[in-house]
Amino acid sequence: MNPVQETLDHLQPDAAWQPFVPDSSNPWNDVKVAHLYRRSGFGTNWATIATGVQSTPAALVERIVSGAGPEETGDFEAEVARLREGVVKGNNALEAKALWLYRMLYSPHPLRERLTLFWHNHFATSNAKVRSLRLIQQQNETLRRHALGRFDALLAEMTIDPAMLIWLDSDTNKKNAPNENYAREVMELFSLGVGHYTEKDIQEAARALTGWKVVDDRATFDPAQFDDSDKTVFGQTGRWTSGDVVRQCLSQRACAQFLVRKLFRELVSETAVPSDALLEPLAAGFRARNYDIAWLVGTMLRSNAFFSAAAIRQKVKSPCDFLLGMVLALEGRPSLTQLAQFCDQLGQSLLYPPSVKGWDGGPAWINSSTLLKRQNLAFELTRGSGQSLRIDPARLPAEYGVVGAEKTAEFFLRLFHQEVAAGALMSIVSQIEAERAAGAAAFYGDLRGQGDLSSASARSAAHLALTLPEYQLG
């Protein structure tokens, strides 16, 4: 039996979702703070981790779930709205991706962006077919608005979202020629999962979903194309409409379990598989609170399960996690279109998911091609040159008062991994000391010293620390 699975299986369903309260045997520390920032956002810098350790899990999760105050949020949203108008006018997909990366990096409410990305993968819609950045951005805003709101409202809006209507052919779903595409996916992928509906349910629901089309970028209901006759969905007969189908899906018991399991994989662990019994308290609470996503997410992030060994480092970083994590830790301001290209190269083309199933995620992110690219991008982001990158690890040791080869290597290991493996520390220290002894630093062209350690050594230490395979885990 795998120890990670064992840890999860040892948790009792009640205790698992109780708030984590640190004690001397299981203390609140940088490992847990960094874990919380990785899962609830895209990572953070050392100052924020250090501040977090001084706080409590309850207070920190509270702040992360509620986000910044209205003033800061208002300013940020106004700025983004301006940028978005430019992106839509320019009709440039790379800029649209870059704008989202901007939000992920600098949003006063990173959890909202993390969940917007989760819902983008859940209701995976690609502009490859929609072919309208305006509609795709509009869908993205809808996902964001409901990201921490209520799932019933989100599902209802997605069902008549213009980009979704085009993506799953609802705009060709007509009374005399029903198209089952959306009817199938709303049950299989969006709300219930396989095994909780019949083919007959899909056929009948497709008829209830008829009549919608996109006119002038707006979802429009055309009564002439709506099949107004009786349909039987989940054993109930009536002259159902699309709103009824949404309501019926939400009223199935399987719905809450399905979503809780998917969010568990997103927020808690990819490697440990939870039993239905373990998830049932969350599913019951989610149902009782009318699909309040903020409650579900907050409960997960506060929990014993979340801060257990079944969760920490038990995910493979997505390309967004990997790239943004480095940028945030190194406190850089890189070119966002360049980052968007990197993200594409690593297999996560935002707004262009590969299919309605979204990205496979997990171990599928890593293959020889993407791993080599990841390692080479870690080098690219730490070499301290290239104007468009505006990111340089050599600045950090001075800012944090770190002096000396060993302290610098330790700093970067702690920044990226929190835990400092003795072997890795020794390898990095001896490498940068050897380079200094050989005068290799001269090759880097920057000899402005920081303490007794050159910028080149700081960059080497940061680069090497990032190439530890463990860095691929989130």
Binding site: N2, E435, T467
Partner: protein, 410 residues
């Protein structure tokens, strides 16, 4: 059940029982060529895209046909200079390299290739050829979909500058672009002892905790990746060839492919482009040069591959998004057309002209009519050469053309 869930469960159960890590990149030793078996599971495909719409009619020429001479008053090739394939057909004089391959029975000319309702837009027609689909919804290319079925260790390699072609795109970002061997390398800062720096990175991936956990999985992938990168570092220094490639861009790219194949990298799909075929005006000289570059590079490449004992593994295929109008235009060029030919080079092919040359009088809006759907050529390559079920890649069953010699086809 959605694929994501299935894969997740597969990964989880792997972790739960700590079984062998799935091969991300098969070790180079395992990729050793199985040269005695034509079309074996380690077969290699090189695709050359002739970008812009190659004038097929002036490439493989029905040189005795009076309609040809009449349609091409200035562009027609002199019957005394063309290189004869059979009684009625001849290569353009620039295709000496192809004539050489044909003499050795290593070249098939698949005639009259196209698809129904030909699209004469470069962009749309190229999309159709790349995706093997008429649906705008198809996000991936035929080779990208194919490489997904070739085991986790195989990537598609796009050789040369520019973005990876749509043909190679698939869901898992397994298309690598390579301009030089250095692109494949694990990068570390330059100067001083680069090897020592790289060794630190490599050693981070060493060791196996035997826990079978997620970190082990990444380490295993990293070890195999670094091994292949190290292997490639040596390729350039160890590679030798008596073949004198022409001094052209395409020859340089194909030489790089030959180096990789000779080094035994596990990749099986290579893709490169030769642009410039959109010859609306003053076609003659440009087309001569392009055909010369094409045939010279392909012939040298196959000679080099044979020198390295890999000739039974390698198949080269060319295509263009469309052919050109039968009648030349008033600018000493030709406009966008429809059906054209594909060339397929390798020891396994049925050498010579396959199928009839399309009629020069029974035309489709002034263009040659196709009789062979390009997806039937893809089907033969997928089913019989790469040994991937073509129906799963192409979405429909297309009857494969008889492209290979009997003993080679599977």
């Amino acid at each position: 059940m959605p694929i994501s869930r299935r894969r997740f469960l597969a990964a989880s159960s792997f972790l739960a029982c700590g079984a062998a890590v799935p091969g991300f990149w098969r070790s180079v030793a395992l990729a050793a060529p199985d040269a005695d078996q034509p079309g074996a599971a380690d077969s290699i495909l090189l695709v050359i895209e002739l970008t812009g719409g190659n004038d097929g009619l002036n490439t493989v020429i029905p040189f005795r046909d009076e309609v040809y001479a009449a349609a091409r008053p200035t562009l027609k090739q002199d019957a005394g200079r063309v290189l004869k394939i059979n009684e009625g057909l001849a290569f353009h004089p620039g295709l000496g390299g192809f004539a050489r391959l044909l003499e050795r029975s290593q070249l098939a000319i698949v005639q009259g290739v196209g698809y129904p309702n030909p699209n004469r837009s470069h962009f749309s027609s190229m999309d159709i050829w790349h995706s093997a689909s008429f649906s705008a919804d198809e996000p991936f290319g035929w080779l990208g979909r194919g490489v997904e079925k070739m085991g986790a260790g195989v990537n598609g390699l796009s050789i040369g500058a520019g973005d990876s072609p749509r043909a190679l795109t698939g869901p898992s970002a397994r298309a690598l672009r390579l301009q030089s061997l250095a692109d494949y390398d694990l990068k570390v800062s330059r100067g001083g002892d680069e090897g020592a720096r790289r060794r630190v990175v490599e050693e981070f991936a060493a060791g196996d905790s035997k826990k079978g956990d997620l970190a082990d999985l990444v380490k295993q992938a990293a070890r195999e990746t670094y091994r292949s990168a190290a292997r490639l570092r040596q390729v350039a220094t160890k590679y030798e060839t008596p073949v004198k490639y022409p001094a052209t861009g395409l020859a340089e790219r194909l030489k790089l492919v030959a180096q990789l194949i000779a080094a035994g990298v596990p990749e099986r799909i290579y893709y490169t482009t030769l642009p410039g075929f959109d010859t609306h005006s003053n076609q003659a000289r440009q087309h001569d040069e392009l055909l010369g570059e094409l045939a010279g590079a392909v012939a040298s490449f196959h000679e080099d591959i044979a020198h390295h004992g890999q000739q039974k593994r390698v198949l080269t295929v060319t295509f263009s998004e469309f052919g050109r109008r039968v009648k030349e235009n008033a600018s000493l060029g030709t406009d966008h057309g429809a059906a054209s030919q594909m060339f397929v080079a390798g020891e396994a092919v049925r050498a010579g002209a396959l199928g009839e040359h399309p009629s020069l009088t029974d035309l489709d809006d002034g263009d040659l009519k196709f009789h062979t759907d390009f997806r039937s050529v893809y089907a033969a390559i997928l089913d019989q050469w790469l040994k991937i079920p073509s129906q799963e890649v192409l979405g429909n069953k297309f009857a494969p053309i008889e492209l290979f010699k009997k003993e080679a086809a599977g």
